[in-house]
């Protein structure tokens, strides 16, 4: 009789071997083009530099970064911006994906792809557009200010401006992820719920939403990491007075040529993000299971 599971189909291959073979390509890519460079980064982060003189290899760079208040502010700012962006983009994106989930065929395709067009223009150019829009004297705000609706808003150079642009950047990715996820929910399931007497609201909260939770997890991770690693938005709209970890590291690398301190900051960021990600995913899984 024909085998029906991996184990028996594989014959001489075990389940583990098959798994290993499937995982090797991605892990190889990861190790060669991320892991090894990270080793270089880590070794570099243990070395003395223009700012801190000591005999390396040692952890002085890390001590300096973690004990200087200024850098704590930078980390907090980065996490805060990413968090606010995610918290705003998720509901907005979910609602849109939900409304669009009925679209199929060409309409659906264009609707979703249309959201990604601004990204293809390139974050740099989009920022130019935003700078024109968010300037107090610009076409969007100056009429409002003249009408007396606002006094001087001074958005450029604020975290608000950065968040607005970040939300606009991550929204297409969030919508696309959730749209894909929502469309996987078969209509029959909702029909069945309806037949069982569930109201529209019950159908959503007890059927649709739970079934889309994995998509919510994915889009949250994507939104958060895109926002946290954004360079262009914080640089042009936040400015040098509001450094995030990415602009700070860029500053270390390209302005003070301190790649050692940049390396230490990068490793710290990596550790922080892995911790956040692991915790978040674990909590989420527990939530899904319950």
């Amino acid at each position: 009789m024909r085998p029906t599971t991996v184990e028996s189909t594989a014959g001489t291959f075990g389940r583990n071997t098959a798994t290993t073979i499937l995982l090797v390509p991605s892990l190889l890519l990861l190790v060669l083009f991320l892991g090894l460079p990270l080793v270089v980064v880590f070794l570099s982060s243990l070395q003395p530099n223009a700012l801190l003189k000591f005999t390396g290899p040692a952890l002085n760079n890390y001590v300096y970064l973690t004990t200087t208040g200024y850098y704590a502010d930078v980390v907090i700012r980065t996490v805060r911006l990413a968090f606010v962006t995610t918290v705003l983009a998720l509901p907005l994106g979910y609602a849109l994906a939900y409304f669009l989930r009925g679209l199929s065929g060409r309409a659906g395709n264009l609707a979703i792809m249309g959201l990604t067009f601004p990204i293809l223009a390139g974050p740099l150019i989009v920022i130019i557009g935003w700078m024109a829009l968010l300037a107090d004297g610009g076409p969007l705000l100056s009429p409002l200010i003249k009408l007396g609706l606002f006094s001087r808003l001074r958005l450029v150079g604020t975290e608000t401006a950065v968040v607005i642009t970040l939300v606009q950047f991550v929204l297409p990715f969030v919508v696309l992820t959730l749209y894909t996820s929502l469309r996987q929910i078969p209509d029959q399931v909702l029909e069945a719920a309806s037949n069982l007497g569930a109201s529209a609201s019950q159908r959503f909260w007890n059927v649709t939403f739970p079934l889309s939770l994995h998509g919510v997890l994915s889009s949250t991770i994507i939104a958060f990491s895109l926002a946290a690693s954004s360079y262009v938005s914080p640089y042009y709209l936040g400015g040098a007075a509001q450094l995030t970890l990415t602009t700070l590291i860029a500053q270390f690398t390209t302005a003070t040529y301190n790649s050692e301190l940049a390396a230490a900051a990068a490793i710290l960021l990596l550790v922080l993000m892995i911790a956040l990600l692991a915790v978040f995913t674990a909590v989420f899984r527990r939530f899904i299971r319950s």
């Binding site: 200024y70 107090d136 004297g137 001074r154 400015g239 040098a240 390209t254 003070t256 040529y257």
Partner: protein, 363 residues
Amino acid sequence: MAEITRRDTLKKIGATGLSLSALATSTFPKPAIAQGNTTITVSTWGGVTEEGIRKLVQPKFEKLTKASILYDIGGQGARYNKLLAQRASPPADVFFSTDEAVVSAYQQGILVPASRKNIPNAANVAERMMSVKIGTDNSTISGVPYTIIAYLLAFNPKTVTTRPTSWADMWRPEFANKFAFASPVHTQMPSFVIIAAELAGGSIDNIDPGFKKLAELRPSKLTVFWTDWAALYKSGDVIAATEFSYYLETMKAQNYDIDYVNPSDKGIAVPEYASIVKGTKKQELSEVFLNLMLDPEVQTDFARFTFQGPTNNLVHLPDDIAGKCTYGPIIDQLRFFDPQVLATNRPLWTERMNTQVVPHWRA
């Protein structure tokens, strides 16, 4: 259900991609290929610098040497790091940078001096322009200062009724929150720390007052390029700024209603350098290129194209551009900072700016 296999889909995608790029290839121009077999790679800023070299220098260079030029463009920071990371096989033969970066580069051992013999035009460059002393002696020069630019104070002549006259005017209350100032990563940041210190009664040896004084400034935008603040100037969000004069002339040419002054306590003079990268296999060709950057005709054309000032004493700029470039009597009213001092202090001062000064600018 339509059965589209991954292999088929990949094939189709591949085929589409290939045919699209074949189509594109036939219509797109090919990258510039060297005429002969030899090229030198020039690492320089994109934008007007690259365009200037392409238009004004490259034709002469190719005619002279039968060799061509490839360009590695980008910001100074990125290009500098590329040189640092690739000592074994340098990605460029000539490196364009500020004089301060030349000092740092020599300290890192990634540049080599050029021979005066192959750069006869260097004899006509004023001593004070040759601000980088490392690698400079009777037979060699560290590199060539191919242009001199000035960092000055700009303002809106309509809204700012009293013309600013000194760097001290940057602290005027009317400029508060409408002022575009050099970012901590700007090449001129250390110069301003010294200027601010002197305004506050300190000096290069007593620099702390400088940071205190800078903390009292109220900029609304921290800048690296004029494009960072031009839009804000147009919309009226910025009414005064520090900026390079050649950028300000560019703005004037583009009908920005803007004016600028050389402060009485002296604006900042900045020589920009072109130097030779250590490990290059095209030393002589590179030296020919450097000599060409100092050629009087090239320098005149460059001045007309970019509004940057010439460094060759033999250059006589025509009247229509003489007033717009850093040229002639104004140079005596400018201050040359020792690039060695700037390079040594930058890491610590950037750190102090970030931690002690910039937080106040938010308040």
